[in-house]
Amino acid sequence: MTEFLNDWGISLMVFLPLIGAALMAFVPASQEENHKTIALFTTLATGLVGILLIADFDYDNSDVLQFAVDARWIEVINARYTVAMDGMSLPLIALTLLVVPLVIIYSWNHIPNPGNPKTFLMLILVLHTGMLGSFVAQDLVLFFVFFEVVLLPMFFMIGVWGGEDRLYASLKFFLYTLFGSALMLVSFLALYVLAGSSTFNMVQLAENVVTEDISKTAQVLIFGGMFMGFGIKVPMFPFHTWLPDAHTQAPTQGSVILAAVLLKLGTYGFIRIAIPILPEAAVEWAPWIGLLAVIGIIYGALGCLAQTDMKRLIAFSSVAHMGYVMLGIATLTDFGINAAIFGMVAHGIITGMLFFIAGSIKERYHTLEIARLGGLLVQAPKMGWILAITTMASLGLPGLAGFWGEFPAILAAYDPAPGLSDALFRVYMVIAAIGTVLAAAYLLWLLQRTAFGTPSEEFENDPHIHDVVTEEWIAWTPLLILMVVLGFYPRLIFGITDDAVINSLLALGG
C-alpha cells in the first residue's frame, strides 16, 4: 500500500476528478441524478485517496517532500512532471478535498440557473484537478499549467451560472488573472534562463539561484513578476477589484470554491515559490507587501462597512482577511508564515461557510440586500445561529478557527525577520490590530441587521422561508465542526506546517 501511494498516490488523487469528468461526458445530460452521483463519488474517492495519503504522511519529517514523483514530461523545455507534498501543502490539500465534496452535496438541490448539472459538475471536477495539482506541483511549468487550468472552469461558472452582471464579472476575473499569470510566466522563464536553463524544479531552482549568483536586481524584478501573478490571485490591495464582482455574480458553489481554495493559490505561491526561491528579493519586497497587506486590511474593512449587499460584504471581508495572511507572509518569519497557512485554512472554512449561508439566504429571500433582511433568528433560528457562529469565527473570536489566523499574524509583525525594519512592521502591527476592531464592527453589524430583530413585512409570512434542510446540514456540519476544533486545538495545523515552513525559510538564514 505504502509503495503504491508513494508512486501513484498523488497522481491518482489529482487526476481522479478528471476521470470522473470524462466519465460524465458519456452520460446523457438528462440523467441528472446520475451526474450528481458520479460527481459525488468521484470527489469522495479523491478524498479517500487523499485521506490515505494524509494518513501515510510522515509527520515527523513534514519538512521533507513526500510521495514525490519525478517523471519525464516535456523534454524540449526541460519541464518535468514533479509532484510531492509536504507540511506546507498538506493542510491546503486537505481543505480542497473537504470543500469540493461539500459543494457537490450542496448542489444536489441547488443547481443555479440555467440548470445543466452535467456541465456544472464537470466544471467543478476539472477545477478540483486544477486546484489539487497546483498544491502538489514541484515544477514551475507544471504549477503554471495547473494554475491556468483553474481559470477556465471558474470563468465559465461565473459566466454561465452567475448573476445579472455575469458577463462583466467573468471577463474581469479572467483578464485580471491572465494578466497576472502573463507576468508570472515571464518571471518563471527569466528565472529558468538565469539559473542555467536546466530545470524548472522549484527546489533545484532555489539552489541554482545561489550557485549561479543571479544579481540582486534581476531577483527583485523576477520577484516582481511573481508578485503580480500571485498578488492578483490573493488578491492584494490595488488588484482586488475583480474579487467583489466575481463573488457577487458567481453562483454559491463558485463563491465557496473561490473563497475557500482559489484565493489560496496566490498566497501558496508566495510561500512555496517566490520566497524560498528568491529569499533576497523577498526581503526587499517584504515591506511593500506588508504595506499593501495592511492597506488591504483597513480598506477591506471600510469597504465592508459601506456595502449594502451581503455577498459583496463577505467578498470585501475576504480582502481584509487575506491582508492578515499576507502580513504574516511579509514578516518572513516561521511564526508569521505558520500563521498565514493557518489563516488560509481558517479563511477557507469560515468564508466558504459564509458564502454557503449567503447562498441559502438568497434562495429563501431572493435578495441579499441587507436592508431588506432581518429576523433570521425568528424565521430560521438554526440558520441564524449558524450565521452567528460563523461571523464570530470570522471576526477572530478566541476559541474559534479565525483567531489563530489573525492573532499570530499580528503578533509576528512585532518581530519580523532580520533585515526588515522592526519599527515599520510594528506600525503595520498596530494598523492590523485596528483592523480587527473594524472587522468586529462590520461583522456584528451584519449579524445584527440580518439575524436580529423581527422579519421585515415583506417576508413576514413568506412560505419560502424555512430552516436548514438536510443537504445543507450535511454540507455545513463538517465546516462548523472544524471551526471549533481548530479553534481549540490549533496544533492540528501548526504541528504539520511548522517544520516545512522553517525549512522553506532556511535560505533566509532565519
Partner: protein
C-alpha cells in the same frame, strides 16, 4: 559555342517532388478540366486538389529521409533552391494547408454558386509559389516564389464575384502588394550591389570580404543596410507586421473566407520561411562585437512590439470576427517575429532556441488558423457576409461540437495550457528571455492578455450569451438558421483541432523534426 555555355544545370528531380506535385498539378488541373468536362463536375476539382496536395505532403517524407537522415541538406538547380529539413517542413505545412483549404472550399463554392476549377488551380499555383519561397537559396528565386504566390492570391481574394467587398479586397491587396514587391526587388538589387551575390549562403560569406576599396560590405554599410531595410519592408508587408499591416483587416474581411484561411496560414508561413531564411542565414553572424544583425534586430524588435500591441488593441474594438482574426494574425506575426529576432541572436544557444520556437510556432499556428477560418466559413452561412460576433451567439446550443472545437482553437490562439498555442508562446518567450529581450517578452505577454479579450468575446458569444434576451425573437431567429457542418469542413476542423490538442498535450511529438528544421537556419 553558345550551346556549350548554355548547358542547363543538372537537376535532381527526385528531391523536387513536393514542389512539382503542386506546380505541375496546378497546370494539369487547368488543362484536364478544360478538356474533359466530366472533371468540371462539382466536387471533382476539389478532389483532385486534395489528391495533389496530399501527394505533395506525402512526398515530403522520402525527401525528409534523404535530407535529414541519410544525405544531408543539399541544393538543387544549380544552387537556386536548397532542399533541407527547413524546406521540407515548410513545404509540408503549405501542402497541408492546401488540403485543408480545399476541403473547406468545395462546399463553400457550391453554397455560393461559384464552383469551378479556377479556384483550385490558383490555390495550387500560389502554394507552389510559397514552397519556392520557402526553399529559395537565391534572392531572385525567392522573389519569383513571392510573385507566384502573391499574384495567385490577389486573384483568389477577388474571386467572389458577387461581393464587392471581395473585389475591393483583391484590388487593395494587389496595389499594396505590388508596391511592396517593388521595394523588395529594389532591396535585392541593393544587397547584390553591396555583397556581389544574390545567393543566400554566398551573401553571408561575402559580408566580411573586402571590395576593391578594401572595405567589407559591413564596413561600407550604407548600401547593404538600405538593401536589408527594403527586404525587411517587403517581408513585413507579406507577414503583415505593423506598420505594414494596414491591408490585412480589409483583405482578410473581404476575401472569401476559406481563402482568408489560406492567406493566414500558407501565405504567412511562406513569408516567415523566406524572412527567416534570408535574415537568419544571410544577415546573421555568431560571436560578439560588431555583428551585422545588430543593425536589423532592433528594428525587428520594434516591428514585433508594434504588431503585438497594436494588433491586440485594435482587435479589441472590432465586431466582425474575420477582422478580429485578422488582427489576431497580426499579434501572431508579432510572436513569430520574436522567434526570428531570437534566431538572429549572436549566441548559438539562443539562436537555436529561437529557430526551434519559430518552426514550432509556424506549425501550430497554421493548424489553428486554418481551423478557425473553417469554422468562420461554416458559421457565416450563405452569402459569406454574416461574420459579426452576433452570428456566434448561442452556437453552443445550436451545434455544441462546432462550438467546442472553435473554443479549443481560440483558446489555443490565446495560449491556454494543453493547447499547442501555449507551448508555442512558451517557447518563443523562452527564447526571447534567453536572448535577454525581457522588454519584448513582457510586451508580448501583455499583448497576449489584451488579445485574449478578443478570443474571449467570441467564446462568450458562443457559450454564455445564449440565455440572454428572454424575448423569443432572437431565439427564433437563431433557430431558423440552422447550422450544418459540411463533411469537408468538418474533416478540416477536426484535423486542425487534433493537431492543436496533440501538440498541446504532447509537445515533444515531432521534436526531432522541429530541431532539424531549425538547425538549417541556425547552424550556418
Amino acid at each position: 559555342m553558345f550551346a556549350q555555355a548554355a548547358t542547363s544545370p543538372e537537376v535532381v528531380w527526385s528531391l523536387l517532388w513536393p514542389l512539382l506535385f503542386l506546380s505541375i498539378g496546378g497546370v494539369l488541373l487547368v488543362t484536364v478540366t478544360s478538356v474533359i468536362p466530366a472533371l468540371r463536375r462539382p466536387g471533382m476539382p476539389a478532389a483532385l486538389t486534395i489528391l495533389i496536395g496530399g501527394a505533395s505532403f506525402v512526398s515530403t517524407i522520402p525527401v525528409w529521409r534523404r535530407v535529414a537522415d541519410t544525405e544531408g541538406p543539399t541544393t538543387v538547380v544549380a544552387g537556386a533552391m536548397s532542399v533541407d529539413a527547413f524546406t521540407v517542413v515548410m513545404t509540408a505545412i503549405i501542402a497541408a494547408s492546401v488540403v485543408l483549404t480545399a476541403l473547406v472550399l468545395d462546399d463553400y463554392l457550391r453554397r455560393e454558386g461559384l464552383d469551378g476549377p479556377e479556384w483550385y488551380v490558383l490555390l495550387l499555383m500560389s502554394a507552389s509559389g510559397g514552397v519556392l519561397m520557402a526553399a529559395a537559396d537565391d534572392l531572385i528565386v525567392l522573389f519569383m516564389g513571392l510573385e507566384i504566390l502573391s499574384i495567385a492570391v490577389y486573384v483568389l481574394a477577388a474571386l467572389h464575384l458577387r461581393r464587392t467587398d471581395s473585389q475591393e479586397a483583391g484590388f487593395k491587396y494587389f496595389v499594396l502588394g505590388a508596391f511592396s514587391s517593388a521595394l523588395f526587388l529594389y532591396g535585392i538589387a541593393l544587397v547584390y550591389g553591396a555583397t556581389g551575390s544574390t545567393q543566400i549562403d554566398q551573401i553571408a560569406a561575402n559580408l566580411r570580404l573586402p571590395n576593391e576599396a578594401g572595405l567589407t560590405p559591413i564596413e561600407d554599410a550604407s548600401l547593404l543596410l538600405a538593401g536589408v531595410a527594403l527586404l525587411l519592408v517587403g517581408f513585413a508587408f507579406k507577414v503583415s507586421a505593423v506598420p505594414f499591416h494596414v491591408w490585412t483587416p480589409d483583405v482578410y474581411q473581404g476575401a472569401p473566407t476559406p481563402i482568408t484561411g489560406f492567406m493566414a496560414s500558407a501565405v504567412k508561413v511562406a513569408g516567415f520561411a523566406g524572412l527567416a531564411r534570408v535574415f537568419v542565414i544571410s544577415f546573421s553572424e555568431f560571436g560578439s562585437g560588431d555583428l551585422i544583425q545588430d543593425d536589423w534586430r532592433p528594428i525587428l524588435a520594434i516591428l514585433a512590439g508594434l504588431s503585438l500591441v497594436l494588433g491586440a488593441f485594435m482587435a479589441a474594438g472590432q465586431s466582425d470576427v474575420k477582422r478580429m482574426l485578422a488582427y489576431s494574425s497580426i499579434v501572431h506575426a508579432g510572436f513569430l517575429l520574436i522567434g526570428v529576432h531570437a534566431a538572429g541572436h549572436g549566441d548559438a544557444g539562443v539562436a537555436d532556441a529561437g529557430g526551434r520556437a519559430l518552426v514550432f510556432y509556424l506549425i501550430t499556428y497554421a493548424a489553428m488558423v486554418v481551423g478557425s477560418f473553417a469554422v468562420a466559413t461554416v458559421v457565416a452561412g450563405r452569402g459569406d457576409a454574416d461574420h459579426g460576433v452576433d452570428a456566434y451567439r448561442g452556437l453552443f446550443r445550436k451545434h455544441p461540437a462546432l462550438a467546442l472545437m472553435m473554443a479549443v482553437l481560440l483558446f489555443s490562439q490565446a495560449g491556454i495550457p494543453f493547447t499547442s498555442g501555449f507551448m508555442a508562446k512558451f517557447r518563443v518567450l523562452g527564447a526571447a528571455v534567453d536572448g535577454e529581450a525581457y522588454v519584448l517578452a513582457g510586451v508580448a505577454m501583455l499583448a497576449a492578455v489584451v488579445a485574449a479579450l478578443l478570443y474571449l468575446r467570441i467564446i462568450v458569444a458562443m457559450f454564455l450569451d445564449d440565455a440572454d434576451d428572454e424575448g423569443g425573437d432572437e431565439q427564433v431567429a437563431g433557430s431558423v438558421r440552422k447550422i450544418d457542418v459540411p463533411v469537408g469542413a468538418a474533416i478540416s476542423i477536426v484535423l486542425a483541432v487534433i493537431v492543436t490538442i496533440g501538440l498541446g498535450v504532447l509537445p515533444d511529438l515531432g521534436r526531432g523534426v522541429v530541431a532539424a528544421a531549425a538547425d538549417v537556419l541556425v547552424n550556418r
